[in-house]
């Protein structure tokens, strides 16, 4: 039995993208952007604060940080929780020492459970972004519109002022972008197709996609790929330097990377965190800023 006939028909086969969320805009066919600040490149630090329940539903897949052994997996529950009670305070202190502001992407469930943590982040002047309900609430195309709307409304209630959205596990349905814009979010950390924060089209208006580079993710490099702390730090600093150096050719560009408290906030990794933060803070031509400040700087940029 061969495949059906329409398997060899290609309805979106034409110039540009095969979806309407954004348009094709190759790097060498567009005018370089210059930022008002004179910065050649910008970097954004994203600190995810996630709640990992003992009994995750695993729908439509298990979150990469979710429980691994049979219930009750106290081992992974407490290993993740370490980040929210110990690791994150080390990161806050290191950010303060380097004089940098970050974007903390927070599950609504974390805000509900740990108000003192939210107060500490606000008091230090960092941005708080909405990161969905929890790692057990992944947005996906199998949800009904009403179900997904409820997830976004519950998250919005926890973060009434947030402009920036990051989906749990950075997963979306086909409707997510419309729904988050309708809920008032105009910056999203799920998409990384560009090296600027391009506006994406939704039914309710534009949402800017700030590129959070999964290839620089601390969980991925340090835990999945078992790279060393020095290798990890070198790659983040090289990414920043690369964009400063490419400015002459391509204009201002930006990127974001994660500092995950239960991974980066381990005692033996803090030397690398400090090296990254000090290296970025002192890098000529680079500005480290929150997601909103980065997107606003590019929106106000000139060509």
């Amino acid at each position: 039995m061969p495949l059906p006939e329409d398997y060899l028909t290609y309805p979106h086969r034409s110039h540009g993208m095969d979806q309407d969320l954004y348009y094709w805009d190759p790097a060498d066919r567009r005018a370089p952007v210059q930022l008002a600040s004179g910065a050649k490149a910008m970097a954004t630090i994203v600190v995810p604060l996630e709640f990992f329940p003992l009994n995750p539903p695993g729908e439509p897949f298990k979150h990469p940080g979710a429980m691994k052994t049979p219930y009750p997996d106290l081992r992974h529950f407490t290993t993740r929780d370490y980040g929210n009670r110990v690791g994150v305070y080390r990161l806050l202190r290191a950010l303060d020492a380097a004089g940098l502001k970050a974007t903390f992407a927070v599950n609504a469930e974390i805000a509900r459970r740990y108000p003192p943590l939210i107060e500490a982040i606000r008091a230090a002047g960092h941005e708080i972004a909405a990161h969905g309900v929890s790692t057990a609430h992944i947005h996906h195309a199998g949800l009904s519109g009403a179900e997904e709307l409820a997830l976004i409304e519950n998250t919005r209630k926890a973060f009434p002022e947030a402009r920036t959205w990051m989906s749990p596990a950075r997963n979306q349905s086909f409707k997510t972008m419309d729904l988050i814009r309708q809920a008032g979010f105009d910056i999203c950390l799920d998409w990384e197709m560009d090296q600027r924060p391009p506006p994406m089209r939704t039914k309710a208006g534009p949402v800017h996609a700030l590129p959070l580079m999964n290839e620089l993710g601390d969980f991925k490099l340090l835990l999945d790929r078992s790279q060393s702390e020095d290798e990890w730090a070198d790659q983040i600093l090289e990414a920043a330097r690369f964009h400063v150096d490419e400015h002459e050719q391509r204009g201002a560009q930006c990127f974001a990377f994660t500092l995950t408290p239960y991974a980066a906030g381990q005692p033996f990794r803090m030397h690398a965190v400090r090296r990254i933060l000090e290296g970025l803070a002192s890098m000529e031509g680079l500005t480290v800023a929150t997601a909103t400040d980065t997107v606003d700087a590019f929106s106000e940029g000139t060509t």
Binding site: L54, P70, R75, T78, N84, Y89, F268, H271
Partner: protein, 314 residues
Amino acid sequence: MTRPDPNLYDYWPYQGRPKIEWPGGKKLAFWIAPNIEYYEFDPPPNPQRQPWPRPNPDIVGYSQRDWGNRIGHWRLMDLLDKYDMRGSISLSIGLIDHHPEIIEACKERHWEFFSHGIYNTRYSYGMDEAQERAVIEDSIKSAQDATGDRIRGYLAPALTHTERTLDLIAEYDFWYSCDLFQDDQPQPLKTTTGKLVSMPYSLEVNDVITYSVQGWSPQRYTDILIRHFDQLLEEGEESGTVMCIPLHAYLVSQPHRLRVFEEALKHIAAHRDDIWITTGAEIAQHFRDTYWDQSLADISARGVATGGTGFAPA
């Protein structure tokens, strides 16, 4: 019915905690926990976990672990002697019957013993309360008969638990649990009875994780131990921290690893004036006697304590 949150402890932000000072004004309590385990040749199945990666008998896995007891343990013991450090042994209680020579040698050195279940191939999954009590009572009695001492610490076999594990060990007057990994300082646990401390043990710098799961080289493990120690010692200035190195002789005593590992011990031993080199039970006792109430008061003052006890929210 499962629960999203164990509710075994309350949220306690690391920032601004009241100061802990270890005996003698020391900043960091350092302990080493060699796991001395017995893995069975032909263990019975557990419905939720296979005992060995391969079907029984798993020859390489079994014989490497036996190598740890026949060869590796003695090398590691010599090394700890050299640095005048005592081990706190995470013991498969069944090993008392199989290898009393190891128990005698550790006892001569005044090492501490705590229970790591009967065998590391018998899991808690699926046990009813009577079965779990039988394991705990067996642990207490077998260790007492062999060493004359009452064990005070617990690490569930192969880190397998039920919802009642911590309530039960608290009820049997254990002082500390190594089963939770949420902190670098001890914390009171919310058990229905008793006075059970959550003791920082560590998976992150546990040799099973670093050598076997992460696949790190001997030198990298040493570098990590040194950096871990330096950071926790620095933080211990503000309030005393705990660092544990959990070890398995079948891994760390390998001929290509032990002398590289020694460099980490040498670094730590060079800071003797600042650190309390001790055992799990001694840390637990000091915390229970000196800091239990202070910790509970500070946790309560943070305003986010949830009440209730483990797996039984208020």
